[in-house]
Symmetry: C2
Subunit: 166 residues, 2 copies
Amino acid sequence: MADSSPSSSTVSRTALLLLRVLTFVFLLIALILIAVANQTNDQTGDKINFSDFYTYRYMISTIIIGFVYNLLQMAFSIFTVVSGNRVLSGDGGYLFDFFGDKMISYLLISGSAAGFGLTVELRRGEPSNSFTDKAHASASLLLIGFLFTAIASTFTSFALPKKPNN
Amino acid sequence: MADSSPSSSTVSRTALLLLRVLTFVFLLIALILIAVANQTNDQTGDKINFSDFYTYRYMISTIIIGFVYNLLQMAFSIFTVVSGNRVLSGDGGYLFDFFGDKMISYLLISGSAAGFGLTVELRRGEPSNSFTDKAHASASLLLIGFLFTAIASTFTSFALPKKPNN
Protein backbone atom coordinates (compact mmCIF):
# COMPACT_ATOMS: atom_id res chain seq x y z
CA MET A 1 0.00 0.00 0.00
CA ALA A 2 1.40 3.41 -0.95
CA ASP A 3 1.38 6.16 1.64
CA SER A 4 -1.07 8.97 1.04
CA SER A 5 0.57 11.53 -1.22
CA PRO A 6 2.37 14.41 0.50
CA SER A 7 0.01 16.98 -1.01
CA SER A 8 -3.19 15.44 0.47
CA SER A 9 -1.43 15.04 3.81
CA THR A 10 -0.37 18.69 3.71
CA VAL A 11 -3.92 19.82 2.87
CA SER A 12 -5.45 17.98 5.82
CA ARG A 13 -2.67 19.17 8.14
CA THR A 14 -3.33 22.75 7.07
CA ALA A 15 -7.09 22.27 7.55
CA LEU A 16 -6.46 20.81 11.03
CA LEU A 17 -4.19 23.73 11.96
CA LEU A 18 -6.84 26.20 10.76
CA LEU A 19 -9.52 24.43 12.84
CA ARG A 20 -7.27 24.60 15.91
CA VAL A 21 -6.52 28.29 15.40
CA LEU A 22 -10.26 29.02 15.04
CA THR A 23 -11.07 26.98 18.17
CA PHE A 24 -8.33 28.84 20.04
CA VAL A 25 -9.71 32.26 19.04
CA PHE A 26 -13.32 31.37 19.94
CA LEU A 27 -12.29 29.88 23.29
CA LEU A 28 -10.22 32.98 24.08
CA ILE A 29 -13.22 35.28 23.48
CA ALA A 30 -15.50 32.90 25.43
CA LEU A 31 -13.04 32.97 28.34
CA ILE A 32 -12.87 36.78 28.38
CA LEU A 33 -16.67 37.12 28.20
CA ILE A 34 -17.44 34.75 31.08
CA ALA A 35 -14.58 36.15 33.18
CA VAL A 36 -15.78 39.76 32.91
CA ALA A 37 -19.53 38.99 33.20
CA ASN A 38 -20.98 40.53 36.34
CA GLN A 39 -24.17 42.16 37.49
CA THR A 40 -25.16 44.28 40.50
CA ASN A 41 -28.57 43.67 42.00
CA ASP A 42 -30.38 47.05 42.05
CA GLN A 43 -32.29 46.28 45.25
CA THR A 44 -29.66 44.61 47.41
CA GLY A 45 -26.46 45.93 45.82
CA ASP A 46 -25.03 42.38 45.71
CA LYS A 47 -22.66 41.70 42.83
CA ILE A 48 -22.76 38.36 41.07
CA ASN A 49 -20.17 36.89 38.74
CA PHE A 50 -19.30 33.49 37.33
CA SER A 51 -17.70 32.27 40.57
CA ASP A 52 -21.09 32.37 42.32
CA PHE A 53 -22.24 29.41 40.20
CA TYR A 54 -20.62 25.97 40.22
CA THR A 55 -21.89 25.46 36.67
CA TYR A 56 -20.11 28.54 35.30
CA ARG A 57 -16.96 27.56 37.18
CA TYR A 58 -17.13 24.19 35.42
CA MET A 59 -17.68 25.95 32.10
CA ILE A 60 -14.63 28.18 32.60
CA SER A 61 -12.54 25.09 33.48
CA THR A 62 -13.52 23.37 30.24
CA ILE A 63 -12.65 26.55 28.28
CA ILE A 64 -9.20 26.75 29.92
CA ILE A 65 -8.42 23.06 29.33
CA GLY A 66 -9.54 23.34 25.67
CA PHE A 67 -7.47 26.51 25.30
CA VAL A 68 -4.28 24.88 26.65
CA TYR A 69 -4.83 21.77 24.50
CA ASN A 70 -5.19 23.86 21.33
CA LEU A 71 -2.13 25.92 22.25
CA LEU A 72 -0.14 22.68 22.58
CA GLN A 73 -1.47 21.32 19.28
CA MET A 74 -0.65 24.57 17.48
CA ALA A 75 2.88 24.47 18.89
CA PHE A 76 3.22 20.87 17.65
CA SER A 77 1.93 21.90 14.20
CA ILE A 78 4.39 24.79 13.95
CA PHE A 79 7.21 22.47 15.02
CA THR A 80 6.12 19.99 12.31
CA VAL A 81 6.01 22.67 9.61
CA VAL A 82 9.39 24.12 10.63
CA SER A 83 11.28 20.87 11.17
CA GLY A 84 9.37 18.63 8.75
CA ASN A 85 9.07 15.96 11.46
CA ARG A 86 6.14 15.19 13.73
CA VAL A 87 6.79 15.67 17.45
CA LEU A 88 5.42 12.20 18.19
CA SER A 89 6.73 9.82 15.60
CA GLY A 90 4.97 6.66 14.38
CA ASP A 91 1.42 5.91 15.52
CA GLY A 92 1.82 7.79 18.80
CA GLY A 93 1.07 11.10 17.11
CA TYR A 94 -2.10 9.79 15.43
CA LEU A 95 -3.34 8.23 18.65
CA PHE A 96 -2.59 11.41 20.64
CA ASP A 97 -4.50 13.50 18.08
CA PHE A 98 -7.41 11.05 17.99
CA PHE A 99 -7.89 10.68 21.75
CA GLY A 100 -7.00 14.32 22.43
CA ASP A 101 -9.56 15.71 19.98
CA LYS A 102 -12.16 13.20 21.10
CA MET A 103 -11.83 13.93 24.82
CA ILE A 104 -11.47 17.69 24.42
CA SER A 105 -14.52 17.85 22.15
CA TYR A 106 -16.58 15.96 24.78
CA LEU A 107 -15.28 18.33 27.45
CA LEU A 108 -16.12 21.44 25.41
CA ILE A 109 -19.69 20.39 24.60
CA SER A 110 -20.29 19.43 28.24
CA GLY A 111 -19.15 22.90 29.37
CA SER A 112 -21.27 24.61 26.75
CA ALA A 113 -24.38 22.51 27.49
CA ALA A 114 -24.03 23.03 31.25
CA GLY A 115 -23.66 26.79 30.69
CA PHE A 116 -26.68 26.95 28.37
CA GLY A 117 -28.75 24.75 30.69
CA LEU A 118 -28.26 27.14 33.60
CA THR A 119 -28.38 30.40 31.60
CA VAL A 120 -31.68 29.54 29.94
CA GLU A 121 -33.30 28.92 33.34
CA LEU A 122 -31.70 32.01 34.97
CA ARG A 123 -33.10 34.15 32.17
CA ARG A 124 -36.69 32.91 32.40
CA GLY A 125 -39.10 35.54 33.68
CA GLU A 126 -36.22 37.92 34.37
CA PRO A 127 -35.48 41.02 32.36
CA SER A 128 -32.42 40.57 30.22
CA ASN A 129 -29.32 41.50 32.18
CA SER A 130 -25.66 41.98 31.43
CA PHE A 131 -24.52 38.90 33.35
CA THR A 132 -26.78 36.33 31.66
CA ASP A 133 -26.26 37.97 28.25
CA LYS A 134 -22.49 37.58 28.56
CA ALA A 135 -22.82 34.04 29.93
CA HIS A 136 -25.09 33.14 27.01
CA ALA A 137 -22.62 34.63 24.48
CA SER A 138 -19.76 32.76 26.16
CA ALA A 139 -21.64 29.42 26.00
CA SER A 140 -22.43 30.11 22.32
CA LEU A 141 -18.77 30.78 21.46
CA LEU A 142 -17.80 27.66 23.40
CA LEU A 143 -20.32 25.70 21.29
CA ILE A 144 -18.70 27.04 18.10
CA GLY A 145 -15.27 26.07 19.49
CA PHE A 146 -16.70 22.59 20.13
CA LEU A 147 -17.95 22.34 16.53
CA PHE A 148 -14.47 23.12 15.16
CA THR A 149 -12.94 20.55 17.51
CA ALA A 150 -15.56 17.95 16.51
CA ILE A 151 -14.65 18.48 12.83
CA ALA A 152 -10.95 18.17 13.72
CA SER A 153 -11.83 14.97 15.61
CA THR A 154 -13.51 13.54 12.48
CA PHE A 155 -10.32 14.27 10.49
CA THR A 156 -8.09 12.64 13.10
CA SER A 157 -10.41 9.59 13.24
CA PHE A 158 -10.03 9.04 9.50
CA ALA A 159 -6.26 9.53 9.84
CA LEU A 160 -6.04 6.64 12.33
CA PRO A 161 -3.94 3.72 11.20
CA LYS A 162 -6.22 0.80 10.28
CA LYS A 163 -4.88 -1.13 13.27
CA PRO A 164 -3.22 0.44 16.30
CA ASN A 165 -0.13 -1.73 15.82
CA ASN A 166 0.00 -1.48 12.02
CA MET B 1 -3.83 -6.53 2.79
CA ALA B 2 -5.71 -9.40 4.43
CA ASP B 3 -9.05 -8.67 6.08
CA SER B 4 -9.10 -8.83 9.84
CA SER B 5 -9.77 -12.40 10.92
CA PRO B 6 -13.44 -13.32 11.47
CA SER B 7 -12.82 -14.12 15.15
CA SER B 8 -11.48 -10.65 16.02
CA SER B 9 -14.32 -9.07 14.05
CA THR B 10 -16.86 -11.19 15.95
CA VAL B 11 -15.31 -10.23 19.29
CA SER B 12 -15.56 -6.50 18.58
CA ARG B 13 -19.09 -6.89 17.21
CA THR B 14 -20.11 -8.69 20.40
CA ALA B 15 -18.43 -6.01 22.53
CA LEU B 16 -20.25 -3.30 20.53
CA LEU B 17 -23.59 -5.05 20.96
CA LEU B 18 -22.97 -5.38 24.70
CA LEU B 19 -22.15 -1.64 24.93
CA ARG B 20 -25.36 -0.78 23.07
CA VAL B 21 -27.48 -3.03 25.30
CA LEU B 22 -25.92 -1.43 28.41
CA THR B 23 -26.51 2.10 27.02
CA PHE B 24 -30.10 1.14 26.22
CA VAL B 25 -30.75 -0.11 29.76
CA PHE B 26 -29.19 2.96 31.43
CA LEU B 27 -31.08 5.35 29.16
CA LEU B 28 -34.34 3.53 29.87
CA ILE B 29 -33.89 3.93 33.64
CA ALA B 30 -32.79 7.57 33.17
CA LEU B 31 -35.94 8.21 31.13
CA ILE B 32 -38.23 6.68 33.74
CA LEU B 33 -36.55 8.60 36.59
CA ILE B 34 -36.79 12.03 34.96
CA ALA B 35 -40.33 11.37 33.72
CA VAL B 36 -41.68 10.45 37.17
CA ALA B 37 -39.72 13.11 39.10
CA ASN B 38 -42.05 15.62 40.71
CA GLN B 39 -42.30 17.66 43.88
CA THR B 40 -45.06 19.58 45.62
CA ASN B 41 -44.14 22.87 47.25
CA ASP B 42 -45.26 22.64 50.90
CA GLN B 43 -46.14 26.34 51.14
CA THR B 44 -47.85 27.02 47.84
CA GLY B 45 -49.03 23.54 46.86
CA ASP B 46 -47.56 23.99 43.36
CA LYS B 47 -46.34 20.82 41.71
CA ILE B 48 -43.19 20.89 39.63
CA ASN B 49 -41.95 18.29 37.19
CA PHE B 50 -39.44 18.09 34.34
CA SER B 51 -41.69 19.97 31.90
CA ASP B 52 -41.35 23.15 33.98
CA PHE B 53 -37.70 23.43 32.95
CA TYR B 54 -36.49 23.84 29.38
CA THR B 55 -33.21 22.21 30.39
CA TYR B 56 -34.86 19.00 31.63
CA ARG B 57 -37.02 18.93 28.50
CA TYR B 58 -33.82 19.06 26.46
CA MET B 59 -32.31 16.30 28.62
CA ILE B 60 -35.34 14.05 28.09
CA SER B 61 -35.12 14.69 24.30
CA THR B 62 -31.49 13.56 24.23
CA ILE B 63 -32.38 10.44 26.22
CA ILE B 64 -35.20 9.54 23.80
CA ILE B 65 -33.03 10.11 20.69
CA GLY B 66 -30.21 8.01 22.20
CA PHE B 67 -32.72 5.33 23.14
CA VAL B 68 -34.18 5.10 19.61
CA TYR B 69 -30.67 5.08 18.07
CA ASN B 70 -29.56 2.19 20.29
CA LEU B 71 -32.79 0.29 19.57
CA LEU B 72 -32.07 0.64 15.84
CA GLN B 73 -28.43 -0.43 16.26
CA MET B 74 -29.46 -3.45 18.33
CA ALA B 75 -31.98 -4.44 15.65
CA PHE B 76 -29.21 -4.12 13.02
CA SER B 77 -26.88 -6.27 15.16
CA ILE B 78 -29.49 -8.98 15.62
CA PHE B 79 -30.18 -8.94 11.87
CA THR B 80 -26.42 -9.27 11.24
CA VAL B 81 -26.07 -12.20 13.66
CA VAL B 82 -29.13 -13.99 12.25
CA SER B 83 -28.49 -13.42 8.54
CA GLY B 84 -24.68 -13.20 8.58
CA ASN B 85 -24.86 -10.02 6.49
CA ARG B 86 -24.61 -6.41 7.56
CA VAL B 87 -27.70 -4.29 6.90
CA LEU B 88 -25.60 -1.63 5.19
CA SER B 89 -23.04 -3.31 2.99
CA GLY B 90 -19.61 -1.96 2.08
CA ASP B 91 -18.32 1.19 3.77
CA GLY B 92 -21.82 2.58 4.35
CA GLY B 93 -22.23 0.52 7.51
CA TYR B 94 -18.89 1.64 8.96
CA LEU B 95 -19.60 5.29 8.19
CA PHE B 96 -23.12 5.03 9.67
CA ASP B 97 -21.72 3.47 12.86
CA PHE B 98 -18.91 6.04 13.07
CA PHE B 99 -21.03 9.17 12.56
CA GLY B 100 -23.99 7.73 14.48
CA ASP B 101 -21.94 6.89 17.57
CA LYS B 102 -20.07 10.18 17.37
CA MET B 103 -23.15 12.37 17.12
CA ILE B 104 -25.23 10.42 19.63
CA SER B 105 -22.37 10.47 22.16
CA TYR B 106 -22.12 14.29 21.79
CA LEU B 107 -25.88 14.54 22.21
CA LEU B 108 -25.91 12.34 25.34
CA ILE B 109 -23.12 14.23 27.11
CA SER B 110 -24.76 17.57 26.27
CA GLY B 111 -28.04 16.37 27.82
CA SER B 112 -26.27 15.04 30.88
CA ALA B 113 -24.15 18.18 31.36
CA ALA B 114 -27.15 20.48 30.94
CA GLY B 115 -29.10 18.40 33.47
CA PHE B 116 -26.23 18.41 35.98
CA GLY B 117 -25.59 22.13 35.45
CA LEU B 118 -29.15 23.02 36.40
CA THR B 119 -29.61 20.39 39.13
CA VAL B 120 -26.47 21.43 40.99
CA GLU B 121 -27.68 25.05 41.12
CA LEU B 122 -31.29 24.10 42.03
CA ARG B 123 -29.97 22.04 44.93
CA ARG B 124 -27.77 24.75 46.43
CA GLY B 125 -29.03 26.06 49.74
CA GLU B 126 -32.20 23.97 49.44
CA PRO B 127 -32.97 20.91 51.47
CA SER B 128 -32.67 17.76 49.39
CA ASN B 129 -35.97 17.04 47.67
CA SER B 130 -37.43 14.21 45.67
CA PHE B 131 -37.47 16.14 42.38
CA THR B 132 -33.82 17.21 42.32
CA ASP B 133 -32.69 13.83 43.67
CA LYS B 134 -34.40 12.01 40.79
CA ALA B 135 -33.14 14.57 38.25
CA HIS B 136 -29.60 14.12 39.58
CA ALA B 137 -29.89 10.31 39.37
CA SER B 138 -31.25 10.59 35.84
CA ALA B 139 -28.37 12.85 34.72
CA SER B 140 -25.91 10.38 36.32
CA LEU B 141 -27.39 7.41 34.46
CA LEU B 142 -27.36 9.44 31.25
CA LEU B 143 -23.66 10.15 31.87
CA ILE B 144 -23.00 6.40 32.21
CA GLY B 145 -24.96 5.82 28.98
CA PHE B 146 -22.74 8.45 27.36
CA LEU B 147 -19.58 6.66 28.58
CA PHE B 148 -20.68 3.37 26.99
CA THR B 149 -21.51 5.17 23.74
CA ALA B 150 -18.13 6.98 23.79
CA ILE B 151 -16.37 3.61 24.12
CA ALA B 152 -18.49 2.23 21.24
CA SER B 153 -17.52 5.34 19.25
CA THR B 154 -13.82 4.62 19.84
CA PHE B 155 -14.34 1.06 18.51
CA THR B 156 -16.20 2.28 15.42
CA SER B 157 -13.48 4.91 14.78
CA PHE B 158 -10.80 2.22 14.70
CA ALA B 159 -13.05 0.11 12.44
CA LEU B 160 -13.17 2.89 9.82
CA PRO B 161 -11.68 2.03 6.47
CA LYS B 162 -8.32 3.78 6.08
CA LYS B 163 -9.82 5.96 3.34
CA PRO B 164 -13.56 6.60 2.87
CA ASN B 165 -13.39 5.37 -0.74
CA ASN B 166 -11.06 2.46 -0.07
